[in-house]
């Protein structure tokens, strides 16, 4: 029997579904479905502008008109109705433009109205070629305009923010941008203002549109009204070659669509991965890519007579090998947190099987032994929770974790759950940050160092709660131990939320001194034998390895001779001065980097590594999901990835690495992921007594002075203004008024003071990397704060 022969009578209606007829075709859809989506199920595309599946329906553009001769109660609507706001009803009859002249005429009329004031400047519009208005005007509009008058014009473009530009005459008032800002990101700084033909998207003059998610409004704008300063006039859609890839900025694992023209990345869009980022991404992921191509290292450098000079690859490899051979096993390896899984495995194997040392650390940030233990016991080599587990949770406790700044897509997910499911979010922090307020989070106020006690005071945790603990917990002694203990006793589940895209992958690849790939403890003989046989070496080093900070100290002390450094910014570490002193004192420094840095300046041999867009591979996000990194451009400025450089070094050292392509490394990585042997014990560090005096609280804001976006002028201009936050009592005690100086370890920061009502007393909050000047102290340590007064009035 053919499908056509099946009549409506033969299709058994399902009782839990609503049955209606669209264009004469019977459709059964769940209750509450909108007509526009029900029509999609039978392959009918009703034209639309304001409708977006992830935004609440609004019916603003009126383009999706359909005729409803029977609303299910036997009576029809006298006039066409907007199908994007009307849910289906049992027995409803809907006629779309396919079968109904009424609907077709209504849609054509609306389209004509929308186009009356639309400038039709498609040739110079960034959206031209991929524009829903352009496409639907062709598919559902009349060919000719009957409008003969002058079109409304506005001065253009208007800066909604430094990054987002608005061409008001192109706008069709669909309210997608304002709904996104209000419903999804929670930054309602744009709104529709004025009325009638002058209605437009406006900003509050006092409060600029500073959102971490502003790029999404450009992507969802169905016309070219919102464009970004970064991409404006850069290219036309038909020039671009798109590649699906994964964002390299944070551990959220957002899917991206990266577009390049002539081997130069022009823009990045949010990909559609409903399990992770839905259809959104953050501005750092969207706009933070130009920096990477401005000041590339293009050829190897070798230090001769104290000066770094360009060298050929064979020369540089020979020089590196000579230095590494001289150092023997007294070598350290630091990978940084931004490597693909394949590259991370390359470093792990290079350190252990080629150099014969366990001195390897991926943590280019303040870290602790307690953290290493915690990661070994609970995180390494295991899948963590998923975004879907967050969906199912009743309660989420944020510990030393500020999702909006440290993992924006996790923030959007939490905000959606708060809004749609009434998720209860509690945050253990010194004050309710902007992000916490947008999550309607309950503040459990705790000064840095007091988080452990605050967590233990939550006596009503149970299995439906999830504790998200950020990487900053490493700097707070006893906190990770407490998290593990509380989770164990209450049944609450825990996820460790790293900040950098390569952190989880590096951990699972064995880039910690005490951990081999797959979370195998180095101290376990069976684990070492397992890995040694997989790698085809006789044995692996068994001794304890040095963590990042210890490596720099050992370099300064002379017990470590050489170091191989990739992607580490000394300023990110707990003690930048010690790191730089270590690099200065080292006999030999090999730097594998993409751009000149403080490390390459002090290196003896510098190898230029390929950018993430110039290689394929995988990132493992915080959940433990493997996400593909696509090869965006094949015209690379430097031919070698980190992995290929290490393979060349290993060959020259006479101990082959055993893999030189991402594909080989990926296979090798998966061979070592199953481990059912012992794990390191959970850490049991007692929380330190709360520090006396004024202590620092802080985290790195999303848009700060990090190397990932230092060339993005427009993006940096949308960053939050750096401020110092203190409680009213502390401000009064210290006599702080407008501007204050915070100082520790010889570095200081002068910032405006914001007195924050809910701030814990005797705590000063400062952003950790706001610009050129940054503090060299980790949160929880004492700092000195003094008021800065400007004497002499305006002359000062």
């Amino acid at each position: 029997m053919s499908v056509d022969a099946k009549t409506s009578a033969e299709v058994q209606p399902r009782p839990d579904l609503v049955n209606l007829t669209i264009d004469g075709v019977p459709v059964s859809v769940p209750k509450g479905t909108l007509i526009i989506r029900a029509a999609e199920m039978i392959g009918t595309n009703i034209p639309r502008f304001c409708d977006h599946p992830l935004l609440d329906p609004v019916g603003a553009c009126r383009q999706c008109m359909v005729d409803i001769p029977d609303a299910g109660n036997g009576r029809g609507f006298p006039k066409p109705q907007a199908s994007c706001t009307m849910p289906v009803a049992e027995g409803m009859v809907v006629n779309t433009q396919v079968t109904s002249e009424v609907a077709k005429k209504a849609q054509q009329g609306i389209m004509e109205f929308l186009l009356i004031n639309h400038p039709l400047d498609c040739p110079i519009c960034d959206k031209g070629g991929e524009c829903p208005l352009q496409n639907q005007a062709l598919s559902h509009g009349r060919g000719e305009s009957r409008f003969g008058g002058l079109k409304r014009t506005f001065p253009k473009p208007v800066n909604v923010s430094a990054q987002i530009l608005l061409d008001r005459e192109r706008c069709v008032l669909c309210a997608r941008c304002t709904r996104f800002s209000e419903q999804i990101s929670g930054d309602p700084f744009i709104a529709l203002v004025e009325r009638g033909a002058l209605q437009q998207v406006g900003i509050y003059e006092q409060d600029p549109y500073e959102s971490y998610f502003s790029g999404n409004v450009v992507q969802i704008c169905p016309v070219g009204a919102l464009t970004s300063a970064a991409y404006r006039f850069q290219s036309r859609p038909f020039d671009l070659v798109s590649t699906t890839t994964t964002c390299e900025h944070c551990a959220a694992g957002c899917e991206l669509r990266t577009d390049h023209r002539h081997h130069q990345v022009k823009r990045r869009l949010a990909g559609n991965n409903p399990a992770i980022n839905e259809e959104w991404n953050c501005d750092k992921g969207r706009f933070g890519f130009v920096s990477a191509r401005e000041d590339r290292l293009k050829y190897p450098l070798v230090r001769r007579d104290g000066v770094l000079k360009p060298a050929s690859w064979p020369e540089a490899i020979d020089a590196a090998v000579e230095g590494l051979k001289k150092a023997g096993e007294a070598v350290g390896v630091q990978t940084g947190g931004r490597l693909t899984v394949e590259n991370a495995l390359g470093y792990s194997r290079f350190a252990r099987a080629v150099l014969g040392t366990n001195n390897i650390d991926f943590r280019s940030r303040p870290s602790s032994d307690e953290e290493a233990q915690f990661l070994g016991a609970f995180v390494a080599g295991r899948a963590q929770l998923r975004y879907s587990d967050l969906d199912a949770a009743k309660r989420v406790v944020l510990v030393a974790f500020e999702p909006e700044d440290e993992m924006p897509i996790a923030f959007l997910r939490l905000r959606k759950l708060v809004r749609k499911q009434g998720l209860r979010v509690q945050t253990i922090a010194p004050f309710a940050s902007v992000g916490s307020r947008k999550l309607s989070a309950e503040l459990i106020a705790a000064a840095p160092g007091g988080e452990a006690a605050a967590l233990e005071s939550l006596t009503d945790l149970d299995g439906s709660a999830i504790i998200l603990v950020g990487e900053r917990a490493a700097t707070l002694p006893g906190l990770l131990s407490t998290v593990a203990r509380v989770a164990d006793s209450t049944g609450a589940r825990v996820a460790w939320m790293p900040r950098r895209a390569g952190d989880k992958g590096a951990l699972d690849a064995g880039c910690l001194p005490g951990l081999l790939p797959g979370g195998r403890p180095v101290t376990d003989v069976a684990a070492r034998v397992d890995v040694a046989s997989a790698w085809g070496v006789d044995s692996l080093p068994a001794g304890p390895g040095l963590a990042a900070d210890e490596q720099f100290a050992a370099l300064a002390a002379g017990t470590l001779k050489a170091v191989v450094v990739a992607g580490v910014e000394p300023g990110d570490l707990a003690d930048p001065a010690a790191a730089l002193a270590g690099l200065e004192a080292a006999d030999f420094v090999v730097s594998i980097e993409q751009r000149p840095s403080e490390v390459t300046e002090r290196a003896d041999v510098v190898f230029p590594a390929a950018l993430v867009e110039e290689q394929s591979g995988h990132f493992r996000n915080w959940e433990g999901q493997d996400l593909t990194v696509g090869l965006v451009t094949t015209a690379t400025q430097t031919p070698f990835t980190d992995l290929r450089i290490l393979a060349a070094l290993a060959d020259a050292l006479g101990k082959p690495l055993g893999m030189r392509t991402p594909a080989a490394a990926w296979t090798a990585f998966h061979e070592l992921q199953d481990w059912d042997g012992g794990r390191p014990a959970a850490p049991a560090v007692a929380p330190a007594a709360a520090g006396e005096g004024l202590v620092l609280a802080g985290w790195r804001e999303l848009l700060d002075a990090s190397r990932g976006n230092d060339g993005e002028i427009a993006l940096r201009a949308t960053a939050r203004r750096p401020v110092l936050r203190v409680s009213p009592a502390t401000a009064e005690r210290l006599g702080l008024d407008e501007v204050a100086r915070v100082a520790a370890n010889g570095r200081e920061l002068v910032l405006p003071v914001v007195v924050t009502a809910d701030m814990v007393d005797d705590v000063v909050w400062a952003p950790l990397n706001p610009g050129e000047d940054r503090l060299a102290v980790v949160p929880g340590r004492p700092v000195a704060v003094t008021a800065v007064t400007f004497e002499g009035g305006e002359d000062a």
């Binding site: 040739p123 110079i124 006039f233 290219s235 038909f238 020039d239």
Partner: protein, 186 residues
């Protein structure tokens, strides 16, 4: 049967030719008799200018999109008040036509939304290298007529875009506006 002179016979032809009158096909065949094409002949392209010398090209790439031979390469860029090449916001920053590829079909002319790109009757495009046959923007731009000024310079036919474009004569009539009329010294 070989004779002593046979080996030298070939040189005879050579010497003969050396003293023969040379034949070179000149062009034009006679001075003053250049080939005159039909007025709508599809010849080399030209990028036109507004009467004040600003460029009409907005860098929209529609010509490149329309080109069946993929002979056109365009990159757009932003005008600024200090660096203005066209009256609007956007101008063609890079403009190249590869005449090794061009088939002179004129689709680009049809696609051009601003009448910036038209074709001249120029057909003598032969040259000696490939790179010389990729014409760049400076070779394609129309010559400066009296009253025109080499961009970048501010708009001379109106203070803003509205003035500039709304001052245009009706369709079908010549744009006779001149920069001088706007009170700019020539």
């Amino acid at each position: 049967m070989t004779g002593f002179l046979d080996e030298w016979a070939g040189f005879g032809i050579t010497f003969n030719t050396m003293f023969r009158k040379t034949f070179t096909q000149g062009y034009p065949h006679k001075k003053g008799e250049e080939k005159v094409t039909m007025p709508r002949f599809h010849g080399r392209h030209q990028l036109n200018r507004w009467p004040d010398g600003l460029e009409k090209c907005v860098g929209c790439e529609l010509c490149a999109w329309a080109c069946p031979a993929d002979a056109i390469y365009v990159e757009g860029a932003d005008n600024t008040d200090e660096n203005r090449y066209s009256p609007g916001e956007r101008y063609g920053h890079v403009y190249q036509i590869n005449y090794l590829r061009c088939i002179f079909c004129g689709m680009c002319i049809e696609a051009c939304p601003t009448r910036a790109l038209t074709m001249t009757n120029e057909f003598k495009i032969a040259d000696t290298t490939r790179s010389k046959l990729i014409y760049t923007k400076d070779e394609l731009l129309a010559p400066l007529l009296p009253g025109m000024e080499q961009p970048p310079h501010p708009r001379r036919l109106g203070d803003d875009e509205d003035d500039y474009f709304l001052g245009l004569p009706p369709t079908g009539e010549l744009d006779t506006r001149t920069a001088a009329r706007q009170g700019v010294a020539e």
